[in-house]
Point group: C2
Chain length 476, copies 2
């Protein structure tokens, strides 16, 4: 935060006050003079602060009266509607691989200038220099780190730090409850292999991350899609209802915090109910908790595992989104399936190499990590808000979007019968990559939706690209 | 090689001459004076050379006559007998996990001083400093290497080097035929998942690497064990015979060069015949070619894939044994299953992190790599020969061992009905870990065998441990 210009720091301060209701809509923003006195800043800085907040839709200037608090312009997009609870569709073998492959192949025909398809942050958001230094330190501390066998379950130092860092999510783990994996994807594979086999039915959110559908397809499992909303994630009622019809559900997989692609956070009571229901029905609950640190505020979100009393919840996560996309470091805490997962990890790929684990343990154990994380959160919050504003400004009337409180993506519902596939094709020709809705379900229910990344810094060029995308959306 | 003392270099030179038959058994070794003149060395160096060769069993000193060439003492161990070809046992679900877990658990009760159980080299054999420097260079060349997404199929630079380095094994690959994996274990998993599914029968060598049996068990596949010999590896005749009974073999998995645990190298005609038979019967052939660079000589060994004309051979390998046990870098060239394997890798664990791939590409592309490899081969050859000599000297009469021409391990058959399990337990109490024969098969056929690592430098302490092991073997 200390590297941001002063006016940005002040703007963030007041934005938080507005979000928290400390400054209510309609109330008067402190005058420029008051800002100068209160924060010991120049007139220019005070003015920039207010203009920045105005640009972001937090303030409006009233002639001769100064600045007043308004609601951010975001509500110009109506929130995505809460789906009616309905019985889930029949479970079936997922057929997503072909669909995703074909989309990716199409995408490769054009050079991408703006990658809004990936759920990842721009490289410059991540602490390259600190990680480089930590890696060099780790190499110098133990020159034989690359030539000795890697510890089977992962570096004890990293697992200790992860256990400690999990406490704010209300997860209490020992380091030996954690196994380091080749990313969260491997963790999810191990979790699914531990509790189910080919042919089994797995309940997932709908829409859900296409990577999960690809995993299920590769393992020969069936996906049962459970209605989920941008407001509160998976509908536990719908799951309970579906289970009356599909009595052979072998696991439930959810992303409880900043769900991909909806951006939803499950309310705590919903997490508690889901954990209790899974436990009561002896159905393992697998959670992918990769995004929970990317919220707008420092207030930590609870993992579903926080309510786990019997080891029925398998917690998976990774550092790709929060620390280093290139490091491929994930982990799994498999509760009562710990031994089984350890065996499967051993049989599937043995240990992960340890050098980068040591580097990450070093960095994550320092206060620099917390400062970095705060910067990342603020940068992402800015980018999200600017992207939301761009959708509100440039996309056709009737476009729906529920502003997420964190994460790297926006889920946008185009009006009417708009085809996201068509938009995808046309946008690709303009060098803009987006993720069309049909990647996130086996059904055609999301064909008018798109997922947009908020990972890129909101530059003038990106603004132009968003304007182009909005115009194209109006024609699809 | 240039870091070895002069007398060791000379000893290696003459050992090669003896092995090649240039100096025949019974012939006179050049006199000390001749050695001094020919190589411009001191008397002390010439003497040390001859004593070293004497100690290794290559020369014998005859009073007043000087040194004469003898056969190395290795034949004191009789070679492991070539098994009679017989119909393979019924395929069955492997049950190795429990057995191996129980062995490992037993092992953990005692502190290990001498780990002769692992098929890996001592840390100091590997080029820690060069890899460290290459890693630091890679970090400095591209500071964002850890914070950018990793390339899905692996670093193009590494894949190019691997393709080039595969040429001496007579494998012709483009870099895009290669996918980088989390070690050879992941490569084998992907290969098996690409061509078979749970319940399928897979033909494997017998004895075979227990890791392969663990993979099959974890994937729910059945292992059909095919007799294999220390002289020539898998018996293709036995495989052909077995296939008449078991018509549903879905794949064959072999380690054609320095097989684990036998140390066998399949003769080229045998490789050719196996490849042709698999092709004719539409059975995919999966080879694990991890050890082929660890031969006594620079002469490269051909991979089975060298005979592949139709993409029916899936080639898997890794750098754990030849370059860096801690790096977890393997790769797969899956022939006609390339696309399927790429999809499975994506679904199973996504890309490998790229930093260490860049470091390895840098090092493997340099001439320092070749010099290192030569040193490694010579060091391992020394260690193998000293271990062989120790078995010959200290183990009970009737012990059988076929000296392997490369690799990291010895397969030792104890005389009579000796129990390797008992030996394992007793050796563990002395701080000596060995791998008992029952780890390498679902049958009890190898209960009197042990696998010994040649990865450790042959110190005085190791010599004492081998003497202890030999005495224990006489009592089991």
């Amino acid at each position: 935060m200390d590297t941001l210009p002063l006016y940005r720091q002040l703007a963030i301060h007041y934005r938080q006050a507005i979000d928290a209701g400390t400054l209510a809509p309609g109330s008067r923003m402190p005058s420029l003079r008051a800002l100068m006195d209160r924060h010991a800043v120049s007139l220019s800085t005070a003015l920039q602060t207010c203009r920045h907040l105005e640009r972001d839709g937090y303030l409006e200037a009233r002639p001769r009266s100064g600045y007043f608090v308004r609601q951010p312009r975001r509500p110009a997009c109506e929130p995505v509607s809460e789906p009616a609870v309905r019985l889930a569709e029949p479970a079936r073998y997922v057929g997503i691989q072909e669909r995703v492959t074909s989309i990716i192949a199409q995408g490769k025909q054009y050079p991408v200038q703006f990658n809004l398809a990936a759920a990842s942050g721009a490289c410059e958001l991540y602490p390259a220099e600190a990680l480089k230094q930590a890696t060099i330190r780790a190499l110098r501390n133990d020159p034989s780190v690359l030539t000795s066998s890697a510890p089977p379950m992962g570096s004890a130092a990293l697992r200790s730090v992860l256990a400690e860092r999990a406490l704010p999510s209300r997860i209490v783990l020992g380091r030996d409850d954690i196994i380091i994996t080749n990313g969260c994807i491997e963790a999810l594979n191990l979790a699914l292999r531990a509790v189910a086999q080919a042919g089994d039915v797995i309940a997932v959110e709908s829409p859900t991350y296409y990577g999960l559908l690809q995993i299920l397809e590769a393992l020969g499992m069936k996906a049962l899609e459970i209605p989920s909303s941008a407001q509160s994630g998976i509908s536990v009622e719908a799951l309970e209802l579906a289970a009356q019809t599909y009595r052979d559900i072998k696991a439930v997989v959810v992303v409880p915090n900043f769900q991909n692609p909806l951006g939803a956070v499950m309310p705590d009571e919903s997490k508690a109910r889901l954990v209790a229901w899974c436990e009561a029905n002896a159905i393992p609950l697998i959670e992918d908790d990769t995004y929970s640190l990317l919220g707008s505020t420092d207030t930590p979100l609870s993992a579903a595992k926080a309510w786990d009393r019997t080891g029925n919840v398998i917690h998976c996560a990774s550092l790709h989104k929060t620390l280093a996309p290139g490091m491929r470091l994930g982990w799994i805490s498999a509760g009562r399936w710990h031994e089984r997962v350890a065996q499967l990890k051993h049989a599937q790929s043995r240990a992960q190499e340890v050098l980068l684990q040591l580097a990450v343990a070093d960095f994550m154990g320092s206060s620099a990590y917390e400062r970095y994380l705060r910067r990342l959160r603020l940068a992402l919050r800015d980018q999200r808000e600017q992207m939301i504003e761009a959708v509100a400004t440039y996309f056709p009337e009737g476009t729906r979007l529920t502003p997420p409180q964190g994460g790297l993506i926006l889920w946008v519902e185009l009006p009417g019968r708009a085809s996201s596939e068509l938009l995808f094709e046309r946008a690709m020709r303009e060098g803009i990559a987006i993720a069309p809705g049909q990647m996130f379900s086996n059904s055609d229910r999301f064909d008018s939706c798109i997922r947009l990344s908020c990972g890129l810094p909101y530059t003038r060029e990106l603004n132009t690209a968003m304007r182009t995308l909005g115009s194209l959306a109006a024609e699809c």
